[in-house]
Amino acid sequence: MQRACRLLLIVLGVFQVLVLFLAAEKPAYAYADPGSGLLLLQIASSTVAGALFILRARLRKLFRLDKSKASEVPDIQP
């Protein structure tokens, strides 16, 4: 049951980020050619990573693991 919930959360997170990605407001101007395959890969990879970020932040908030940082997005810098 717990695993199913977790899976659902991940799927919802991915869905949310995907929606945000698609709900773009205006066209982006690129001076450098953004490429096609490379751009799609970056979008796909950022979507998954973005979903995980949001999910992690939510889980932290949910379980109040760290009250002082509950509203912050975790820093992923190495």
């Binding site: 205006k26 450098a32 490429g35 890969l41 979008i43």
Partner: protein
């Protein structure tokens, strides 16, 4: 910058500008000075960036070229002046280690820029020059205000194409980095894919740099999304940092493994030089350079930089040319670590790097950049290669030396009896066997007078020549 597409770019362009792709502005040269014009729509952001603590810190650290606002025009445009870098070089003249240093600097500046609400709008090695052995980012118009909430780095593709894929092709396929001369925008994943072994395609780092983008390209047929995604700004910045971190990791993975080449250990393995020969040669070079007091010296055939370092000790800034990648890489690594004013470049003086780009005017040729830039030329152990391997006549060699130096030339003469001369001659004694020191000096006399000389026990001789004509305006 993404705020506007400047239609005037195509209609109002000053044809004297040397660069033209960036809608924000253009670079141009006026005599010894380097200027950049900034179009009105981009002036305020450029000025704010240049005055920011971040830009000032980078300039102090030598990571960004020193730049000042020269004029604020009535139409709102700006004229900037850059500090001139001693000798401009191009990626096709760099060793792999220099490519990696330039890539690291690009990623580092982009990463730090995020903290100040800025991002790099392009990411190509052409935005980096080497000041001595240190990489310097020179395109101050590359910093755009961050598009809050957008986690996509639009220059990602360009970084992969112009930094990572040439390095990958060099490391895994042995393609020379000098091939960048023909590829302004680098390689596409499809350029590498057919040549990569299956295992290489399936594993990191080429799986995500070549294979997946290549397969995705096939599916989308160029219909990539052109909309701006919107995420919470802090999530977008975290994702951008993650992207930069992944690129940095890929860059590190693509560093070529050190290899030993024919020339990379030449100074310790050259059997035609005894310890006494080496000692006397170094002593003469020291003495001659103490006389010449060079400010700017071109070391042709610089190898790992032994004599370049003697020139530095005499007060010179040095550009060291060599055709050998490993020797040049070694020279650069030493110079970079010790912060010496030595710029090692991979170049062949007998086939100098040509001018390339639109109308052959975007990137200057090696001889064009060198003319007037050096008061001293060092050619040690080179002349027999030019004579025998490149088959260039002596008078033509001295014509070139005269073009390369505004005053001094220090040249080593290698007699026909020398073991290296005999080896390179390979049975062509009839053609070259008659060349002797007398002819060498008689040819030199057309442009130079002898200022000093020394003979080594191995039969070679060293000559410090001074040009007949009075020195031209001092080198920049």
């Amino acid at each position: 910058m993404t705020v506007a597409v400047d239609a005037s770019r195509d209609t109002l362009r000053d044809t004297s500008e040397d660069t033209f792709r960036d809608p924000a502005g253009a670079l141009y040269f006026d005599g010894a000075c380097v200027f950049r014009s900034v179009r009105p729509a981009f002036a305020a952001a450029t000025e704010a960036f240049l005055n920011s603590a971040l830009a000032q810190q980078w300039i102090e650290q030598g990571k960004l070229v020193a730049t000042q606002i020269e004029t604020r025009h009535a139409d709102g445009s700006l004229k900037l002046q850059h500090r001139r870098i001693h000798f401009p070089s191009y990626p096709w003249e760099w060793s792999p280690a220099q490519w990696i240093a330039a890539g690291r600097l690009t990623l580092e500046l982009c990463e730090q820029a995020l903290g100040s609400g800025l991002i790099l709008k392009d990411a190509t090695p052409l935005n980096v020059l080497f000041d001595g052995a240190q990489p310097v980012f020179v395109d101050v118009l590359s910093f755009d205000p961050l598009d809050a909430g957008n986690p996509i780095w639009l220059a990602y593709g360009q970084f992969v194409r112009t930094f990572l894929l040439p390095l990958a092709a060099h490391k895994y396929l042995g393609w020379p980095l000098a091939g960048a001369l023909e590829r302004r925008d680098g390689y596409e994943p499809a350029d590498l894919y057919p040549y990569l072994p299956v295992m290489r395609r399936a594993t990191s780092p080429l799986r995500s740099l070549v294979t997946i983008p290549y397969l995705l390209e096939g599916k989308t047929k160029g219909t990539a999304p052109t909309k701006r995604p919107k995420l919470p700004p802090e999530v977008a910045v975290a994702l951008l940092r993650r992207t930069l971190h992944n690129l940095r990791r890929a860059l590190d993975q693509l560093a070529p493994s050190p290899r030993v080449s024919r020339w990379s250990h030449y100074t310790t393995t050259a059997s035609h030089y005894s310890a006494a020969d080496n000692e006397q040669k170094a002593a003469f070079v020291e003495r001659a350079l103490a006389e010449a007091r060079p400010r700017s010296l071109l070391d042709v055939g610089g190898n790992t930089g032994h004599y370049s370092r003697i020139a530095v000790a005499a007060g010179a800034s040095v550009v060291a040319l060599d055709t050998d990648v490993q020797a040049t890489a070694k020279n650069w690594q030493t110079a970079n670590a010790k912060k010496e004013p030595i710029l090692p470049l991979i170049a062949d003086i007998a086939r100098p790097t040509p001018a390339v780009g639109w109308r052959n005017r975007e990137s200057r040729g090696l001889l064009d950049r060198s003319t007037g830039a050096f008061d001293t030329v060092l050619m040690l152990g080179v002349i027999h290669h030019l004579l025998l391997v490149d088959q260039v006549p002596l008078p033509a060699i001295f014509d070139l030396v005269r073009q390369l130096t505004t005053r001094w030339a220090l040249i080593e003469w290698v007699p026909a009896t020398d073991s290296q001369f005999v080896q390179l001659c390979r049975g062509r004694q009839e053609l070259y066997g008659h060349l002797d020191e007398k002819q060498f000096l008689a040819t030199a006399e057309a442009h130079f007078q002898i200022s000093d000389h020394a003979r080594l026990p191995n039969g070679r001789s060293l000559w410090l020549f001074e040009r007949h004509t009075p020195p031209e305006a001092s080198a920049p």
